[in-house]
Symmetry: C2
DNA sequence: GTGAAAGCGCTAACAA
DNA sequence: TTGTTAGCGCTTTCAC
């Protein structure tokens, strides 16, 4: 049972003449290491050694007495206090652009897969693509002394990111690399991914391929557009500026598509910079009676799970969210371990580039070749 | 610029005869309140007062000097230290069953919507439906001194939850209510939701309605099954046990459906306990050439966004994930505020029951009536 | 083997 | 208006 502090009427809430800042609080106070020490009849230091089991010698008898006290008082070490003393919080921050875009939960799950095994806990933040919120989150996480930070959403200026990377937290970028500053990075090859997509469409015989881009101040989107351009040029095709546009919302996507399709000699295919937009395009087509892929072939990017549903059948470039998350977490873990063990030798930054794959389904004009791998994942949760 | 600690060769890393535990660390040390105090030529206390701006009087001049020092040193208060001193971490934990089930990100987004405005940060955990992991997460969050906890996944024993609720953290249950112990709770009426679903199917003339249930040790799933049974009974129909079954994975769902459809006088409709499973059923039907809704009408539960895609068209009971998250966060915020302000008066626990709605689309046999509300949400992130 | 003491960075009560 | 001081709960050094 935890130490219960009773409301003590005779007591004036004073300790050594100085008023206690936290007189009597409602409920049950948590036991502290001092309580345990007192109960076991030893010093705090001994209890601490016992708890840390870092190879200190403690007599079997003392050991047993402490264990009993811990059990009795249901003692749980206060991680905040430990953190202050150790100068580490055992906590890693993960900043994503949007928790409701299925890409990110997948990435987070990858991070959890590896971090969850350790003693670390995840501090999560979602920026909704708002740079201000991103800055806020970074600040707040640094103040909370995260030991490491995975940034899967960076709209910040390169320079700000660089400052962060050079600070004394370990940072892994999981969305874009930095040109000037070397930093641990795990990304996919966005240019290649886009080329894969566009080349596939060209392979189907399309010559007028549009591109629905994301906001070009976000690096991966810019790279995807670059890949699109490259693919066209390598095929000896001219780029028609009117076929490249971006949109911000569902209705915006519809408007953009309307505009693109109104161009003389309209596109017969479109490469969309991410699946959420691609799906919006699919919906747009369904509503307008535009047949996919007969009238318009569509390829997306990210390969979120929705795309594989038989009613959707979206061909998409797999951006390996889970693998990115996993790799980023591994890189971070290695980094943190190194810092913990040794304070001077710094390994050079790692830059992992994962290879995206094109997952072919119906929307590009192929027969769905996919051998839909039955997931062994529980469906309830 | 932050205070840089240079590697000082002449210095023996000793302070007052006692060896410093953290000699010289790589990189830039963060400035502390003492650094600021020194730089501004005032005491720590004054700096603290300045930072907290809790209406302490500080001369304009001092104020300016401190501000300058803060700026100069890029001082960021250490939230861990603040937490230790204040006995609060300004952090709230959110435990969900699965981050990759779209229901939960939606709930989390709701929580963020209201918590994000405040100074609190989210500590996130996903249990994957594993009770052991759930227990671990709770422990770890308590050790990290979360000020509040939102539990959107409870497989724990009632009694354990009750102990938690009676502890000195504020807890809001967002998935099930407790029978014995009063506790802040935000849930939807699962029984009603299930009735809505089944009654709708009965309204379509179905008389043989199957139920694909979730694991019945999880309260909401049990309640949904109860609602299913109630609806049948109120309609004067017999319950055929063979039409009620559960499954664990995608292939399991397929097996369950195969079994159910093999029963003599097979069902013409099925009410599925959540959308992930319902979608698995839809996929199953598509693969087998079973037409939905002609051969089999399907209604799910949760109304995850995927259902509204034109290629899916899943009729489903909206479980108001976002609203639940938002409400839970508001309740929690109120609770934490109260605790912060006053330590004795305890408001009675709130129990909010949200009303689920049936969202009608094609899979039940209706013409899709849905007026698909263009979201004004950005599609990129 | 065990304990006393100092200190992690911050806050608040009280004195000046 | 500002400073002194005593913690918050824990870890580690160093002395016993």
């Amino acid at each position: 049972m935890a130490a219960t502090v009773l409301t003590c009427e005779s007591c004036d809430g004073t300790i050594g003449g100085v008023r206690n800042r936290f007189p009597t609080r409602r409920g049950t106070q948590r036991a502290t290491i001092s309580d345990v020490a007192a109960a076991a009849g030893v010093s705090k230091a001994t209890v601490s050694k016992f708890l840390g089991d870092k190879g200190y010698y403690i007599s079997a008898e003392t050991r047993e007495r402490i264990a009993a006290a811990v059990r009795e008082l249901e003692f749980q070490p206060n991680a905040i206090a430990q953190g202050l003393s150790n100068r580490r919080s055992n906590t890693v921050g993960v900043i994503v652009a949007s928790i409701t875009n299925p890409f990110y939960p997948e990435l987070i799950a990858g991070v959890e897969e590896v971090i969850g095994e350790s003693e670390y806990t995840l501090l999560l933040g979602s920026t909704d693509g708002r740079p201000a919120k991103e800055a806020d989150l970074v600040r707040s996480m640094l103040q909370r002394q995260v030991d490491g930070l995975i940034m899967a959403a960076v709209t910040m200026e390169d320079e700000a990111v660089a400052r962060l990377v050079e600070s004394d937290v370990d940072v892994v970028l999981a969305s874009r690399a930095l040109d000037a500053t070397p930093a641990d990075t795990v990304v996919i090859d966005n240019v290649l991914g886009a080329r894969l997509a566009v080349e596939h469409l060209l392979g189907h015989g399309h010559r007028r391929v549009a591109h629905l881009a994301g906001p070009l101040n976000v690096v991966p989107f810019r790279l995807r557009r670059d890949g699109y351009l490259e693919a066209l040029r390598s095929a000896g095709l001219d780029v028609d500026e009117r076929l490249v546009c971006d949109a911000t919302t569902e209705s915006g996507a519809a408007a953009a598509m309307t505009a693109v399709l109104a161009v003389p000699d309209p596109p017969t295919a479109v490469f969309v910079a991410n699946d959420r937009m691609a799906i919006a395009v699919l919906e747009f087509c369904a509503a307008r009676g535009i047949r996919v892929p007969a009238d318009l072939a569509v390829v997306g990017f990210d390969n979120i799970w929705v795309g594989r549903l038989s009613g959707v059948g979206l061909t998409s470039v797999d951006s390996r969210a889970r693998a990115v998350g996993r790799t980023a977490a591994q890189t971070l873990a290695r980094r943190m371990r190194a810092r913990h063990a040794d304070q001077s030798v710094v390994a050079p930054p790692e830059r992992v580039v994962l290879r995206p794959d094109l997952v072919v389904r119906r929307s590009c004009g192929c027969e769905s070749t996919e051998n839909d791998d039955d997931e062994i994942v529980p469906l309830f949760f």
